[in-house]
């Protein structure tokens, strides 16, 4: 019996000399370093290529850096009267993100507090899958939802809404970001040690006192970084705005209007038949570079906050 066990062990563990094992070790290590360098390479490639194409964009006569950063007019297709000021695109993105955050942040945070502090296991068993499904639905679905459901409701409530408007796109983006906010916030709230809660209960706090006056401040760094990640997600969201936000470059803060966002402009250019070397083609990359810079900054700050402002209670 024991012989059988010994034989089976010998079969599963291949016997190798130590030297062979070390050779395998070096080989595997090289392969793994190769895979990781791939990610590094991708990051570098994004940065270098976006910079290269953006530089190519600024080589065109019609474009100047000052005009791009401070110009209030974006009209790449207007023949001789081309203007490349990025603010109309930024304003569209801004409006959509603000509307989205007005929806996602309060709802997401309250949902997170409920899930982490109040909800019974039964309620969690319904709520968590619902949120996971919301998070897993492809964005193009939200785009159609914004077009065929949210927009008609908005238009029936108020006549000023365009058939495509920033408000509907923003609401859909907000719904999309809701699970991101709630799950990241919940993680942050759950990471607060139990002893803090027990101390607060011991002092006679109600559940509201404990969760809002003790747990929430303790988890603040995680919550703020969750907000920043959600904003980055809203800024980079593409398919919803491509469908529902409209395609006209307009400097506006009125959510009833239709306007390009930065991502919306990129898809419009990719969709249209712009020549592969023209100024319109290059402008796509300049907008992409700006978008990349904004989202990278938001994610990076979010990570810094989470890393350095975390309250540790160990």
């Amino acid at each position: 019996m024991s012989d059988q066990v010994g034989a089976s062990i010998l079969q599963t563990v291949r016997r190798k000399s130590t030297a062979a094992a070390f050779r395998a070790e070096i080989f595997v290590r090289t392969m793994l370093v190769g895979s990781v360098s791939f990610s590094v390479f991708v990051t570098l490639a994004i940065v270098i290529l976006l910079v290269r194409e953006t530089v190519a964009f600024f080589q065109f006569e019609e474009v100047s850096l000052g005009d791009f950063l401070f110009g209030l007019k974006w009209s790449p297709m207007m023949g001789s009267q081309k203007h490349f000021g990025i603010w109309p695109l930024v304003s569209g993105t801004f409006v959509v993100s603000v509307v989205a955050m007005v929806i996602a942040i309060p709802l997401g945070l309250v949902t997170a507090i409920y899930l982490s502090e109040y909800a019974s296991p039964k309620v969690r068993a319904i709520l968590k899958p619902a949120l996971e499904i919301l998070a897993g639905i492809p964005t193009v679905v939200y785009g159609l939802f914004a077009l065929t459901f949210i927009t008609p409701i908005l238009r029936s409530m108020h006549e000023g809404f365009n058939p495509q408007n920033l408000m509907a796109a923003g609401i859909a983006v907000g719904i999309l970001c809701l699970p991101t906010v709630s799950s990241l916030c919940e993680d942050a709230l759950r990471a607060v040690p139990r002893s803090l809660r027990e101390a607060a209960y011991g002092l006679g706090g109600t559940k509201f006192d404990v969760s809002v006056r003790v747990v929430l401040p303790a988890a603040l760094s995680g919550i703020i970084s969750a907000f920043l990640l959600a904003i980055a997600r809203a800024v980079g969201e593409t398919m919803i705005v491509a469908l529902a936000a409209g395609n006209v470059a307009r400097l506006t803060v009125d959510p009833r209007n239709s306007a390009y966002t930065m991502t919306g402009y990129i898809t419009q250019m990719a969709k249209g038949d712009v020549s592969n070397f023209g100024i319109e083609y290059s402008s796509m990359f300049a907008v992409g570079a700006a978008l990349f810079a904004i989202t990278l900054l938001l994610t990076f700050i979010g990570q810094l906050i989470r890393k350095y402002f975390r309250e540790s209670y160990e």
Binding site: L50, P163, P179
Partner: protein, 403 residues
Amino acid sequence: MKPEPLQPPKFSSFQHRTLAERNRINNWFRYFCVFVASMSVVVLVVLLGSILFRGTSALSWRFLTSNASQDVAQAGIFNAMVGSMLLCLACGAIALPVGVASAVFIEEYKPKNRTLRVFHGWFQLLIANLAGVPSVVYGLLGLIVFVKMFGLFGSLQDPNFEFGVSYSYQILTPEKRALFLPVKEFAEKAPKPEEGMKVRTASGEEVVLHVIGRSEKLPADAPNELRQRTVKANAKFGPYTAKSWYYISLPLGKSVLSGAFTLMLVILPVIIISSQESIRAVPKSLREGAYGLGCTTWQVVRNVTLPAAIPGIMTGAILSMSRAMGEAAPILVVSGAAYVTMLPQNLMDDYTIMPLQIFQWADHHQPGFYDLAASGIIVLLVVLLVFNGVAVYIRQRSQKSLG
């Protein structure tokens, strides 16, 4: 940051509330929470309900099995479904090994050297940042790197490198049988048929061309072999390109392969992060036991860590594939918005995927096309549901404690 010492309670209005008042606030807040939290369920139900309501009318067997079309009544989702599957397979085949390998390296090969350790920490930060990059930016990257390949291999219309394609001129005999003249490359002008040219029949047999006058006819008793290789003097050669299923060209162009590579960039960070989490969940004691027996790192990874982490890695992989399946923005950028109505014949062919097809239908902004888009969404969601069901099944089956 160090935890601040406990402050003595400040006397604010908060402290002056009676217990009854605070209980009332608590109850009120609880109802508020329930209300807000149930909103997400309501939204989900409304979202799915509105899509189902719109989509079921156009959903039929014909919709599932026919290709896209400009005509609302004829349009189906079959070619988009095949495109999605093809793209996901190609993308997963590349992204999974690279992603899991990266995760293993970051988690299991932590260096002892201090400077290397700093670099190691940077990888982590880098990958978290890569996950936050909008997918449309990856599309722009894919457009330069994969679709055009920096222009190193010529333009899209005239690729420099091709494999698995044959060019020939074809000419028709009076009996409408095709004869082929294989060439390396198409010339500016097609050659003229001449007596004695070596051509091939459709079955690949080499024959010698026989040319007869414009109004001449072969005698009725001419042998079949002669008939087969006889053309009229005014017949014209036309260019004919035969691509095999393994056709490859560089630059990749707007092809399935360039789409798959681009999508790989999008889901790579997702796979790395989820694999890292499942590797981290393997208890340390198992590893230490193996190290104690004198294993090298790779032996530990191969025999201990990976077998224990594989269910988690699989679950994460399937979920990231379902993310890839729903991703439309990068594919929209790399493939343009060509309205494709055919199945892709090889990896270099035009293609469309379900979310992109849905986008194009919705972008028509007409009620009939909205319904089509909704039907497409139902199909897409069912596919995703199957994916996620498999992931949940694997998670349930392999949940054994390693503690």
